[in-house]
């Protein structure tokens, strides 16, 4: 039994790695088509990711929000709830913690705690709302969470151009948060900050989360409404709670990025983080360890990709295409592998038959 589990996991990992390699190879073709050397492109990418101590610390800067958000997304995905609104939840977390940081007149340490809580709660409620709309009105959560992304983005734009705009600047941004509220830098002037400990804490929690009653309930909901109802679970309640937890992670990531990196609200703070969280969660097969590995791979891909764009003539969109290919190949993987297996199986069966005859 144990052996079989290990073998299955091994096959799963092998398939995933194979698909990532295929995506990178197709990426290489695109690099060639844009009149560049794929070898040079990928080696620039690697040097951009691992070339110096500073670059390696940048990998962890990227890893922190990516991993937290991907783990958050995976909570919902396990329950077959397709929360693709991580971006909006990240933004709402950033906004609410920033409001606390700039305007709440309480001592700094207390303000820090409230800002943290505000981010987590805001992210959670923004996703939880979509969960509630699903249970109450049967509104498809894919569309609602996505629409919430647009709404959160425009809310952010409104705030940084209006009520929250830095009074001493014409730029679309808020004032900086007080020095005492910034997450401490860990190594000299490098951007790596104390948020990484929050990430480790989240990972630790997630490792044990799936063994808790709540984790078990969420998995059961993912097995289908019938299974969950027969097991005596309040499906609707679990759906809303699951979405809240899922969004809280992204809200937390918003807090970490705002208080560790940006120190203010800007346009495009979330970047592509929501999509990346989705891809990482799926690439990691919704499994904590798988997601950690996938998030590390993506940190390399993103940091390396950014430096590839600076150093060579290769368009950054190649990195985006690779991301898209990875997600499609990974979901096609299971069927493709199964087909390959039966095909090989038939081949061997025929050979054995010939042998007998």
């Amino acid at each position: 039994m144990k052996n079989k589990l290990v073998r299955n996991a091994g096959r799963e990992v092998f398939g995933t790695v194979l698909m990532v390699i295929v995506a990178l190879l197709i990426g290489a073709i695109l690099v060639v088509l844009s009149d560049n050397q794929p070898g040079e492109a990928y080696s620039t990418m690697l040097r951009g990711a691992f070339g110096s101590t500073q670059k390696i610390t940048e990998l962890f800067v990227k890893l922190t929000p990516t991993l937290i958000m991907a783990l958050g997304v995976s909570v919902a995905f396990r329950a077959q709830l397709w929360n693709i609104g991580a971006e909006g939840q990240f933004i709402m977390g950033s906004i609410c913690s920033m409001v606390v940081a700039l305007y709440l007149p309480v001592p700094i340490p207390l303000r820090m705690v409230i800002a943290f809580a505000a981010a987590v709660v805001a992210g959670g409620l923004w996703a939880g709302l979509a969960g509630w709309l699903k249970t109450r009105f049967n509104a498809n959560e894919v569309i609602t969470t996505l629409m919430f992304n647009y709404i959160a983005n425009y809310l952010l734009l409104y705030l940084i151009n209006g009520p929250m705009q830095d009074p001493y600047s014409d730029l679309s941004q808020t004032d900086l948060i007080p020095d005492g509220m910034r997450l401490a830098k860990l190594i000299g002037t490098y951007r790596l900050h104390a948020g990484i400990f929050l990430m480790l804490l989240v990972v630790l929690i997630m490792i044990f989360f799936w063994r808790t009653t709540l984790g078990y309930r969420i998995n059961l909901v993912g097995q289908g409404e019938k299974v969950a109802t027969y097991s005596g679970i309040h499906v609707k309640q679990t759906v809303v709670v699951t979405m809240c937890i899922s969004g809280a992670f992204s809200g937390l990531a918003g807090f970490i990025e705002t208080f560790g990196i940006n120190y203010r609200l800007l346009d495009g703070i979330a970047g592509d983080a929501g999509n990346i969280a989705t891809i990482v969660a799926l690439l990691g097969s919704l499994n904590v360890y798988g997601i950690i590995a996938a998030a590390m791979f993506f940190s390399v891909l993103l940091c390396g990709g950014a430096s590839m764009q600076r150093m060579t003539d290769v368009p950054y969109s190649v990195v985006d295409v690779i991301q898209g290919l990875i997600i499609i190949l990974v979901i096609a993987k299971d069927t493709a592998m199964a087909r390959l297996n039966t095909w090989f199986g038939k081949l061997f069966a025929r050979k054995e038959k010939e042998h007998v005859e």
Partner: protein, 314 residues
Amino acid sequence: MWSEVFSLGFLVSLLAGTIRLATPILMPALGQIYTQRAGILNLGVEGTMLMAAVCGFSVTAATGSLWFGFAVGVLTGALYSVLMAWLSVSLRVNQVIAGIGMNILATGLAAYIYRLIFGIRTLPAKIVPFQSLDFFGLSKIPYVGTVLFNHNILVYIAFALVPITWFILEKTTFGLKIKAVGEHPRAADSKGISVSGIRYAAVIIGGAYAGAGGVFMTIAYLNMFTESVIGGFGYIAVSVVIFARFTPGRAMWGALLFGFASALQVRLQALGSGIPSQLLLMLPYILTVVALIFASKKAEFPSAYTIPYSRMER
């Protein structure tokens, strides 16, 4: 300024804008009626539209022919959706994830194609878009002419597709087969209908319609391509289909409703209403959520909605 809002001029430009902005939602929504009726939820419409927008635009920029660009846009939509059909019908993967994957891939591919063809440039590439028709002077009729007879040809094509789509779905064998594989694929299969064949067709037709909507944005609404040119219209179209309970006529009203929200936003901004533009820009997206809330309970989804069909499984 509020007196201006209630003036006739404002109303006329608002209604004209409504019809124009309903078009890029109406086309993909009509197409998705085929797809969803056949039991497949293609969330990849957004990406399909984006691919069509960039390919159609590029061809028009290269050849100078708007109709050629339009045809390529439609073709691109059909071809790109083959990927969705393969994933959802042949590989039977989760359709939601497949759709999201298609959209992420399209974001990268569209930016890559644009960069490959047009290079890095300070100003975006531009074309001369489809011009408004005037119907032998009918557009000169005060008010009514501006609202109804002063659009480009693609707008009229989109609205003409409403009865055509209805006819195909309700009055032809093909339409009947689509509904059969969406409601009861096993029964359809036992009657000799190729479930996967019909589903492939339904997804590809949906893709072609989405392609038309996507290319409309770059060669008939704007005259250039940007990465955010579709801006959620694909997702809005999917929710319009649910809102319309899978019928072309109601989809038209749904699209007009969203066109109205978009046009209202544009007009109020142009007027300098004092309402911050960012809040106005939220309008269509908020409306989508509200529409979904009101429509989803009542909507009768096809029985085999998002469920892959396999002969071997019961």
